[in-house]
């Protein structure tokens, strides 16, 4: 009897131990580079093709891609994995995420690899803004990530509808935009602007009014400037006048409504282009343009900062990871990537390479997204910015609900941002 009981107990404990031990062994890294990304659907297929081609070319280490969700989920998973000391080898990250990852001092410096691996000419071929935003002032100017899926914030407009109200060009300034909306509403009896609440879109609005959101020298937010007030003011105005409606938070209903002809404008990243294209399929004439700008400001838009970073491990793995990055940003691969997805090519020379060259000839709208690059500004890459983004969302909601005036909203956002960044 004692024996039976003891046996059960020993068995139970053994099972626990085996479960634990087996997994500790598994915790030792495999001989494959694990790459966490957020690409789904068609883009995922394109990415997989590129990775398969890379793996087939006999690299030092093969790459295994894992889709881990949207950027939010990716961020949380990566941070948790870092806390559990089991990060992947490569991961996609916004600049501000990389800054947060540095809390664990886990991101490797890619500057050396860039210097050694690419010639000066090669390096100059890459669009400079793409690389610059990956240099982190707060960490001594180190290059902690490389561009991966770059896109810019664009205005999608229905040209057929605009023609019906006597316009052939998209609005260039916000005044023109509001006027166009009013005309569209009067003539076509719809709410023309499908609005999706998003902090990056808000950043774009501030940039387009000639403002900045963050001063990297003094490490302070700049939401107390006139540009922020104008940005909130624009949102306030379009909602108050019934020119805009908010779609379900986190959904792509704005894009869907545009495709169904229910809205005339929506503002999203250029990577929505292929989805819109597929949905519309020539049913009506549409195009993309740089988002409108404030009357006294120059055109400006947001450069979405999805980059790729390498987590620290041994030199062999890090070098192999860089190898993959180098492959990804090479001329032909980036041309393929840009043609297959809504993203921008990383290099200028890719514009002349197939299949991108043919694609641009066929779809001029894509060219507009590339032409927007000079006007695009990156978002801040500072630690804690994630939380500021949440505050931006929240305060925008208050403005939309008429519970805050533009002026008060700017003040509140500045105060919240200050507090969050000082922690």
């Amino acid at each position: 009897m004692h024996r039976r009981l003891a046996l059960i107990l020993v068995g139970f404990t053994l099972v626990l131990c085996v479960a634990g031990c087996r997994n500790r062994e598994a915790a030792a890294k495999e001989d494959v580079l694990v790459f966490w990304h957020t690409q789904s659907d068609r883009n995922a297929a394109a990415l997989r093709e590129i990775i398969e081609a890379y793996n087939a070319s006999g690299p030092a280490m093969a790459v295994r891609e894992e889709y881990v969700g949207d950027y939010d989920t990716l961020y949380k998973k990566t941070i948790t994995a870092l806390a559990a000391r089991r990060p992947p080898d490569l991961a996609v990250a916004y600049e501000s995420m990389v800054a947060d990852y540095m809390k664990y001092d886990a991101v490797s410096d890619l500057g050396g690899y860039l210097q050694d691996d690419l010639s000066a000419e090669d390096r100059a071929d890459i669009y400079q803004p793409f690389v610059d935003s990956n240099r982190f002032a707060q960490f001594g100017g180190k290059l902690l990530s490389m561009p991966f899926t770059k896109s810019v914030l664009m205005l999608y407009y229905n040209r057929d509808m605009l023609r019906q109200v006597g316009r052939s060009e998209p609005p260039a300034t916000w005044e023109e935009f509001v006027a166009a909306c009013e005309a569209l509403k009067a003539k076509l009896n719809l709410t023309p602007y499908a609005f999706s609440r998003d902090p990056s879109t808000f950043d774009g609005l501030v940039f387009s009014f000639g403002g900045e959101v963050f001063d990297s020298r003094t490490r302070t937010p700049l939401f107390d400037g006139p540009a922020t007030v104008s940005a909130f003011g624009l949102i306030d105005a379009v909602f108050e006048k019934g020119l805009a409606y908010e779609v379900a938070y986190g959904s792509y209903d704005d894009r869907a409504d545009f495709g169904n002809g229910r809205a005339a404008f929506f503002i999203r990243s250029s990577n929505s282009y292929p989805y819109a294209d597929e949905m519309i399929q020539g049913k009506f004439d549409w195009d993309v343009a740089v988002i409108p700008h404030g009357a006294e400001a120059a055109p400006a838009t947001v450069l979405f900062g999805a980059n790729i970073c390498v987590f620290k491990s041994d030199e062999r793995r890090q070098k192999a990871a860089w190898d993959f990055i180098g492959y990804f940003i090479s001329r032909d691969v980036t041309a393929r990537w840009a043609a297959a997805t809504g993203y921008l090519p990383i290099r200028q020379s890719a514009l002349e390479a197939s299949p991108l060259r043919e694609f641009l000839a066929e779809k001029p709208a894509k060219r507009h997204t590339i032409e927007a690059i000079p006007y695009a500004k990156a978002e801040p890459n500072v630690q804690g910015w994630q939380e500021v983004r949440d505050a931006m969302d929240r305060i925008t909601a208050e403005v939309i609900n008429q519970r805050l005036t533009a002026q008060d909203a700017a003040v509140e956002l500045q105060a919240a941002a200050r507090k969050m960044l000082s922690q």
Binding site: H2, R3, L5, A6, L9, F12, K76, I79, T80, A83, D100, K103, Y104, D105, R197, Y245, E246, V247, A248, Y249, G250, D253, Q386, E387, D390, D393, R394, A397, E398, N401, R403, K419, Q423
Partner: protein, 307 residues
């Protein structure tokens, strides 16, 4: 060798359950207190900061606000669920036919995963007229109500401003989640109350009827008092459950997750998961545990005194 085990034998029976419960439930209680005394636990610049985290969470007011939201949630769901369950338990008790079928219907929401059910409710309460609720409202000419994304408190909506003490009240987003919670749980309570009612001997009712008491009278004089212990039990478990609400907020009101639907559980979770502030998250956990202990103790004291 086995002779040694003799008097320790019972402890070995307890060992499997005890080990698991200790490691994953009791020990974490001590550990969370430990973590709450550090800043940036596990990161490069972790440091002992004593009660600093507690000061932080109370100073910023965010945690207190989240507790307030939890309280609104509890106030909104507990009485409603229990009252509704009581009504239906009584009504169902009077039925002979098909009572079993109805019980299945009532219990169905409870066994459904909150993730799936919350997703359905979110679709029903969709922010524009594609959703069932808004399309019904549209038939009455009421504009689309952004149920799960509205952050304004209902008092503020109704009276145009915040009320003294109670403030703006729970937002529509929170109320949508509360509605879901009532739908989800009341069937379970119906079953428990039915069982409790089944314990009351028929003779008591018959005696009262002979004395001329109508159904309503006998409900208030017999059923309700005799059900008090059961109702008390329901109050305690629903309080603990209300303060642990997570899934439905996560799924139904993600837009308000960080705003008007940020209850204490969400606060702790977001401190941990979104912002990696383990220290403040732990401090909030300890504070919440303290609040719950006090609440439960109070409830037990109240129910004991009534007896």
């Amino acid at each position: 060798m086995f002779r040694l085990f003799g008097s320790f034998r019972p402890y070995f029976f307890l060992l499997p359950a005890g080990m698991i419960l200790f490691v994953f439930h009791l020990f974490p209680l001590a550990m969370v207190v430990w973590i709450s005394l550090f800043r940036d636990w596990r990161t490069a610049d972790s440091a002992y900061v004593g009660l600093d985290n507690y000061q932080r969470i109370f100073e910023s007011g965010e945690f207190v606000r989240s507790l307030g939201i939890s309280v609104w949630y509890a106030l909104g769901t507990i009485p409603a669920t229990i009252a509704l369950a009581l009504v239906f338990a009584v009504l169902l008790g009077r039925k002979k036919r098909l009572a079993g079928v109805y019980r299945v219907a009532f219990f169905l929401p409870f066994i459904t995963s909150t993730v799936a059910a919350a997703a359905v409710w979110k679709w029903i309460l969709h922010v524009d007229q594609k959703g069932l609720a808004n399309s019904l409202l549209a038939a009455f000419g009421v504009g689309p109500v952004r149920f799960t994304e509205s952050s304004t408190g209902i008092f503020e909506l109704a009276f145009g401003g915040e009320l003294p003490i109670v403030g703006g009240g729970p937002s529509l987003a929170l109320i949508s989640v509360m509605l879901f919670a009532v739908w989800h749980t009341f069937g379970f309570y119906v079953i428990i109350l039915t069982a409790g009612m089944g314990q009351i001997p028929k003779e008591t009712y018959e005696a009262a009827w002979l004395d001329g008491a109508g159904p309503v009278r006998s409900f208030f004089s017999i059923t309700l008092p005799l059900l008090r212990p059961v109702i008390g039990f329901l109050v305690v478990i629903s309080t603990i459950a209300a303060f642990q609400t997570f899934n439905q907020i996560y799924i139904m009101a993600p837009a308000e997750r960080l705003n008007s639907a940020r209850n204490a559980t969400m606060y702790i979770f977001t401190e941990f998961w979104n912002y990696q502030r383990f220290g403040t998250g732990a401090a909030a956990s300890v504070a919440l545990f303290g609040v719950l202990l006090v609440l439960t103790a109070l409830q037990l004291r109240v129910s004991r005194r009534k007896d």
